[in-house]
């Protein structure tokens, strides 16, 4: 009876994970999907705490229960607190942080289960695999978190880092196999493996540049899923197995989808450095021409007499927290009867879909956000394009300079428009470190300054017109 109840709770949890993840894939059902997955999780946790001890016929002392409850309360308070307060611009590093926590949990489970399972080869393989992957995911996520939150700006590359990383990986695999096969019982071995895996996690993410971090987080996300699945094998637990494998597989596909949207390959992200080759290419090709500077009132006049305007938002907008001013500008132009849309590049922001979240936060109507493929034909009959804090995603070099590292990347065809206003803080190149000839285009006017300050001035000018 109790066993049946427990299994049903795990079954419902598994269905919740699958259905929830499926519903997350469509804007209309996404929120409900998330709640369904959360409900499944709650059921599985409650079942484990209250029903499992009866089915396993174990006497759990009261104070152990108390410890579990205190731990859950603390985790809930911290997790909830961070999740509610965090700014939407900080979303990528937050996902990375939470992912690291899951990885750490998997690693700690391995540490604790080691001594109970010495001599049991298949269980020990699961323990060791979960521990290694969990530790890599934890250490890697923490590095990714540090990089994205600006604590570690530059990629750190040891000389021959690819060789070193491969060596460390081989050592870990060899050592893990040794632990399983030789049935050692001294916990020092498992702690050493733990340490090695942490070091590998750090080495793995350290050389990867900030622009590629979302791909790395997505990859580590599927790693943690895999670690959870090994736990499922270890405990014969269907909820852990289903959830873990589902995330592992979905996360891998998501990673590939992201690299495609960013025109990168996974191996290039992990083994190749973006900076080195491109810096050389960028410096070799100096762009000829003059830039034309525009004042806020010039920009306002241009916008005021346009019939059709497209706004191209980039990460610079988010950094300056200018999405609310931008929305004000949009409403002002709408009142004047100007047709206005937002063109969203798949990787605008820090990760795919990030810009939509940021604009949604500023109450921008969902229908006004148009994906790249749907809007690219519209630029030709657009009077003014306003580029706010975006750079690489509007760089024509992706179309016409085969030597450029971003050559072949899908971009927004901004240069087809009649007039282009680019708001940037300075002439500094974007995340990929590449010059942008769009800025030298005769149709382009540069509106320099912090996005929020510059747009506020434009809004003021427009109001006076």
């Amino acid at each position: 009876m109790e066993t049946a109840l427990l299994n049903i709770s795990y079954l419902v949890a598994a269905i919740g994970f699958i259905a929830g993840l499926k519903m997350l894939g469509s804007p209309r059902t996404a929120r409900r999907g998330n709640l369904i997955a959360a409900f499944g999780m709650l059921l599985a946790i409650l079942g484990t705490i209250f029903i499992y001890p009866k089915t396993a016929h174990i006497e759990v002392p009261g104070f152990v229960y108390t410890l579990i409850f205190i731990a859950i309360v603390i985790g809930t308070a911290i997790g909830w607190g961070i999740a509610v307060k965090v700014e939407m611009t900080k979303m990528p590093e937050l996902v990375s942080f939470f992912n690291g926590m899951g990885g750490a949990t998997a690693a700690l489970i391995g540490l604790m289960e080691f001594s109970h399972n010495v001599g049991h080869t298949s269980k020990m393989s699961m323990i060791v695999a979960g521990l290694v992957i969990g530790s890599i995911s934890f250490a890697g996520s923490m590095i990714a978190w540090g990089k994205l939150s600006g604590k570690m700006r530059k990629p750190v590359r040891l000389p021959n880092y690819n060789i070193i990383n491969t060596l460390v990986a081989l050592i870990i695999i060899g050592f893990a196999i040794y632990i399983v096969v030789s049935q050692v019982s001294n916990p020092v071995y498992i702690y050493t493996l733990f340490g090695l895996a942490l070091i590998y996690g750090i080495l793995f993410v350290l050389p990867i540049g900030g622009a590629d971090m979302p791909v790395v987080i997505s990859l580590l996300n599927s790693f943690t899923g895999l670690a959870a699945a090994f736990g499922g094998f270890l405990y014969d637990n269907m909820a852990m197995l289903t959830g873990g494998i589902l995330v592992g597989s979905a996360g891998t596909i998501l990673t590939v989808a992201m690299t495609k949207a960013m025109n990168r390959s996974l191996s290039a992200v992990i083994f190749g450095a973006f900076g080195e080759g491109s810096a050389a290419a960028g410096s070799s090709k100096k762009i000829q021409g003059n830039i034309k500077e525009a004042s806020p009132s010039d920009a306002a006049i241009l916008l005021n007499y346009a019939n059709k305007v497209i706004i191209v938002p980039g990460y610079g907008l988010a950094v300056a927290q200018a999405q609310h001013v931008l929305h004000e500008l949009e409403e002002l132009l709408a009142k004047k009867g100007i047709d206005l849309k937002y063109a969203i590049h798949p990787v605008a922001g820090r990760m795919p879909g990030h810009m939509n979240v940021l604009l949604a936060e500023a109450n921008v109507d969902y229908d006004k956000l148009v994906d790249m493929d749907d809007i690219n034909n519209e630029f030709a009959n657009t009077d003014v394009v306003l580029v706010v804090g975006a750079n690489d995603v509007v760089n024509p070099a992706a179309h016409n300079d085969p030597s450029s590292p971003i050559y072949g990347m899908p971009i927004l065809n901004v240069e087809d428009a009649k007039n282009i206003i680019v708001n940037k803080r300075s002439m500094k190149p974007g995340y990929a470190g590449i010059e942008n000839e769009l800025f030298y285009n005769p149709k382009t006017s540069m509106l320099f300054g912090d996005a929020k300050a510059a747009l506020t001035k434009v809004v003021q000018e427009l109001k006076n017109m």
Binding site: G75, G225, L241, G243, L246
Partner: protein, 102 residues
């Protein structure tokens, strides 16, 4: 060799689940618009928090005399809860902003 065959024999149902789930995951994510990648990643991130069940199981089985074990287990449950609760709450917050205003 016999160890490996044994493993397959004993876990054949779980291996079926693994294979089916791999295909389910691929199918589910296959056609998602880039717009939803961020919430999707965040949601998937919350789901792998299911690893917390392992941490709770360890605690339930832990010898009450084993203080170090209890301490590590305690930390594991805290971190696992962080992953689950933080993950679901932040995903919900993100998706709340997507609602159409009509």
């Amino acid at each position: 060799m016999s160890e490996i065959l044994n493993f397959f024999q004993q876990n054949i149902q779980m291996i079926y689940i693994v294979i089916l789930m791999v295909f389910a995951g691929v199918e589910i994510i296959g056609h998602v618009p880039a717009v939803l990648h961020t919430p999707l990643m965040s949601g998937a991130n919350a789901i792998h928090g299911v690893v917390i069940i392992g941490a709770i199981l360890v605690m339930l089985h832990m010898d009450p005399e084993n203080t170090l074990g209890l301490a590590i287990g305690f930390v594991a449950v805290v971190l696992g809860t962080l992953n689950v609760v933080g993950g679901f709450v932040v995903t919900d917050r993100m998706l709340d902003m997507f609602k159409t205003k009509k």
